[in-house]
Structures are given as structure tokens and as C-alpha cells.
Amino acid sequence: MPSPQHLHLAGLPIFLLQKFKILFVILLPLFFVAFKKQSTLFWLLIATGIVLTLQISLIYWFTTYQITPAEIKINSGLWIKKARVIPYSRIQSIHQSQWFFYKPLHLVHLRIDTANTEENQAEANLFAIPEQRLTLIQHYQKQNPKFNASVHEPQKQQKQNHANYTAVKTTVPPSDYQLNLKQLFLFSFTETSVIVSTLATISILVTLLPENIRNQINRDQNDVITIIFLTAIILMLAFSVAMAKNLLRFYHFQVRRQHQNLQIEYGLFERQTQTITIGKIQSVEIQQNLLQRLFKLSRVSIAIAGGQDSQDDAATAKSALLPIIRQDQVLTTLQRILPEQDWTIPAFHYPTAQSHQLHWYFWRSSLLILLPVSALTAYFALAWVWLPILLLVIALSSQSLRQKRQAYVLYNQDTLCLQTIHLLTEKQMIIRRKHIQVLTIKTSKWLAPKQYGHLELSALAGSSFSITRLRFIPLSAAKELVTFYRQSRR
């Protein structure tokens, strides 16, 4: 059995940064205040900082790992020793990242996710290990009986690896999907999150503007050209910030299918590689917001079970598979990347599209909240009344779209595709029956006699679960889905 290996010291700054991340936000303002006053608090903070740095460095040094043909063992803990054993069969996904300064040293930061839903973090977090150890892990993972690899490595090579951690040489096949700069620009232009971060940057820029410029703007507020010019500059600056952020994150994004694994690579300064076992994918989501619909573009993401370290979107706990792709190429690309699934999705059933009676049901919550808010705003602050009215229009449009577009289709005996609308974004969730965790039908004393109800589908996404809802559908449609779900497995 190989002896326990220490993590490479190059990973210590990243480990320290991660451990201090939350403390920094709290302590930094306190530190500056103490520094200005030259109080004893300043020296106390410095001493605490040194002690914490030493303690964290020791924790880093006392973390060791062993890679055996059956499992990965991680020993950690300064005072309380902790040993964690991860058999290869439990691995859901492997996430590797490589900071620019790791590259010349041939090091990687490795995070391994299992189906453990107890903690919101990866089960194994190895901050700096040599690249060849990762190749060895991947090699042992392929050798695992549960890993249904189509190509088997020769046994002789396994013995050699076990003896001295020699790297297994693998050839890298061409990618099945990649994001070029033009697509990255389109992605930045059409993403809702980019619009949000643009607005955030605008608000920061406005507050950072020097006092004299702000006074100048106030004086010149009748000068339409000045206002348009300044707005254009701020918008361009904000968009550039959002674009730069995406460039750093999604630079040279590529997806590669390798036997039973999906390999996703991205990032400029920190190059990240995520390896996901195909069988661990819980659901696939194709989504399209209003702008993307206009340009006939889509975004595809996948949900996998496990810690949140391998997701690029913590809010939805999903990983981007195809960040931006032409609408007509989605299914053919998915067919190429995930051929075990049939991607010829049949025509949808739209259970609520035709019923005029349902308009009220879909609209009532928005009207109930936003109409009184609009009335109160009109009474107390007439100048701001446009805001709740705008929100009301968006909410009503979103609900109307939801009524018209929410749909479902069952196909291939074991696959369900649900189409829902969330804030004007259309989402299609493709999920196999075995990955649906729980199905719930909801109705009320008043809806039940009219034979309407809601259907909720719970599926695993990261260390939590996601709920997809079809609202105010006929109970017969809900029962059809429950019957599909409850039929005996073959």
C-alpha cells in the first residue's frame, strides 16, 4: 500500500484564502479602524491573524492522502484525527482546477463529490496534488467493476501504477462542444445574470462617481445628449465588466465525452476540469430566456447528486453543459454527448393552454399583491408608481406565458420532459423515472371539485433537491403522470 502523501505546499495560499474568506469580510473593516487609531486592538488582531495562519497551515500540513486501487483515503485533523475513505464506486464527479501558478509545477486542485448530501462541500478537497495522481485516480476509477467503461486498461499497467504512482498516459480526444469567443460574447449579451451584474456595476459606478461630476450631471440634467452619452458609457463599462467576468470563467469552455465520463473544461486563470460519470446525471435542463428566444439560442445545464463544489451555479445547484448553443443544434449535440438517451422528444401536451377559465387562477396572486402595492405607491409616492406597475405587467406576462407554455410529455416508457416558465424564462427538464425522487399532487377544497391541481416533482440537484411545478393542471393530467411514475419497473 502506498504511504500517505502530503499536499503540495503551493496549495497553501489557496487553502489560507478559502479559510480566511469569511473572516476577511468581517475583520477587514475592524482592522482598518484599529490601524487608524493605533489601539491595542490592532496588535490583538495581528496576533490572532498570526496564530490562525499557523493553525491553518498546520491543518494543511497534517492533511494526507493515499490512493489505492480500491479507494482514496484522506487523513486530516490537528487535534481530532479524521480518516475519510472514498471507494471509487461512490464517486459522483471529479472536479479539477488549475491556477496559472500550478501549471509549471504540474499540480491540480482536486475536489471529489459523492452522493453525500449532508454537507454543502466536496467530500474530498485536495488543494494541490501532482497531475499524475489525478490520472491514477481516473485510471483506478475505470478499473472499478461498477464503472462500465467501454475500454479496459491492461492489468499490467495497473500494477506499475500502484508501485510508484507512475502516470498513466491517456490520449485526449477532440471535444464534442466548445465555446468560441463569438459565442462567449453572445452568451454574455443574452444571459439574465449578466443583465443583473450590469445593473449592479452601474449602481457601484454611480456611487463611485466624484462629487463634482455628479453635481455637473445634476446641473446638466436638461442636456439630453449628456445624459445619453453618460448612460452609454456606463452601460458599456458595465457590460465590459460582465464580459470580462464571463471570459475568466468560461474561457475556452469545452465538453468531451470519454467512455462513461463527461469531461467539462473551462476557465482562464484558473483552468477547471470537471469529470462527471454519466450514470450520476440526475436531469438535463434546456432553458431559453426572452433575449435568447429572440436570437434562437438555448442554454443546457445538468444536475448531479453530490456536494456543491462541482456546480457552477450555486443558486440552482446545476452545472453548465452547453452554456450557449443554437436552438436547432441542441438535440443533435445532446445526442452526440449523451447517446444513451433518446433526444427525439415527441410533441408536448399543453394542459392549460386552451382554458380561458384559468386566466384568473394564474393572475390572482400577482394581482392580490401588486395591485394594493401600486395603489399605496400612487397615494404616498406618485413619482415611483411606475415601479409596481412595471412589476405587475412583468408578473402578469410571465403568468400568461406560463399558462400557455407549461407542458409535459412522456416517452420511451421511462422518460419525462416537463416544460415550465420561470420569470419569462422557458425551461425544459428531461428526467428519467428512476431519478425522480418524489411526486406530489396538490389541490384545495375549492380546486378539487373543478378537477384542477398542481404537480410537484422533486429531483436531486447537488446536496439539496429542486422542485419543478406544473400549476393548475387538470387532475386527470396529474394522475397520468403519477400512473407513469408508479408503474412497476422493468
Partner: protein, 164 residues
């Protein structure tokens, strides 16, 4: 009720007594909080009229909710059901807002029984059923039924896993 299919199994009728106690204890605690607020208010000078109005509204709400909850116990009981088949476990709750949840047996990760002081008083148990993503509770099972159901579920889960 005719348009809404009900599941077969009902809880033990003694659960109604536990619910009644629970509602009354919640109401009593709300009254204690109100009393505390009155005592605190004696030491501070602020808008007494507004305080009295808010306290009045709070007490009326507590009374209305308590009476409503007590009156609705028979309905809550009638719609609180479950059913075990060889494929899944179905749970039903709610009178005004009704919900039926289907949990396939091969999704069940672990089972847990719980008994607080109120349930101990009426000799009943809660059975918690956890999947990888969610947890569901069957409350108000008598000890024998809970143990029998737990054994039945374990056997069915094993059979369902072997079939999958």
C-alpha cells in the same frame, strides 16, 4: 370529498387528542408572550395606543386561529392518510390545501421513529421516512402499527431494490 380520492389507511384516532393538546399549548405560549410584552411595556414609555392596538389584534388572531384549528381537527384527521403498496408509499395531508405525495420504495434511504412528550402521553409514534432529497412524516401511528409498518417497509424496500 367525492371528487378527491382518499387513501386507505387512517391514523390512530388518539392523534386527535395530541393535536388538541398541541394547539392549546401553542395558544397558551402565545398568551405568555403577550403577558411578557405587557410587563415589558410597563417599563418603557412609547406609543401606548399603538401597543394596545397591536396587542389586541395579536390576541384576536391567536383566539381565532386556536378555535379554527380545534374545530378543524375532525377534517384534518379525515384527510390525514397513507397507503403502502408493493411499489410506493403514498401520504395525504390537508383539508383546505390538500397534498398527496408518492415516494417509491426504492428511493427510501432510512426510517426513523420519534416520540415527543405529547405523543408519549397518547402512546403514539411518528415515523419519519427519508429519501436522498426529502423527509416525510407519518404522525400518529400507535407503537405496534409503527413497528409493523417499519418492518413492512424495510422488507418492501429490500424487494424493490432487488428488482430495480
Amino acid at each position: 370529498m367525492m371528487n378527491y380520492p382518499l387513501l386507505k389507511q387512517q391514523m390512530n384516532p388518539r392523534i386527535k387528542q395530541a393535536w388538541r393538546y398541541s394547539i392549546l399549548i401553542t395558544a397558551a405560549m402565545s398568551l405568555v408572550i403577550s403577558l411578557g410584552a405587557i410587563l415589558v411595556a410597563r417599563f418603557f414609555t412609547f406609543n401606548r395606543q399603538l401597543f394596545d392596538l397591536l396587542l389586541g389584534v395579536f390576541l384576536i388572531l391567536v383566539t381565532v386561529i386556536t378555535v379554527m384549528n380545534l374545530l378543524l381537527i375532525p377534517y384534518r384527521y379525515a384527510f390525514h392518510r397513507y397507503e403502502v403498496t408493493d411499489q410506493d408509499l403514498a401520504l395525504q395531508t390537508g383539508y383546505f390545501f390538500r397534498s398527496t405525495t408518492y415516494v417509491p420504495l426504492n428511493r427510501i434511504q432510512h426510517l426513523e421513529t420519534k416520540q415527543g412528550p405529547l405523543l408519549r402521553h397518547v402512546q403514539l409514534l411518528d415515523l419519519n421516512i427519508s429519501t436522498a432529497a426529502t423527509t416525510h412524516t407519518l404522525d400518529g401511528l400507535d407503537v405496534q402499527t409503527a413497528q409493523k409498518l417499519r418492518q413492512q417497509l424495510i422488507a418492501l424496500v429490500k424487494a424493490a431494490r432487488d428488482d430495480a
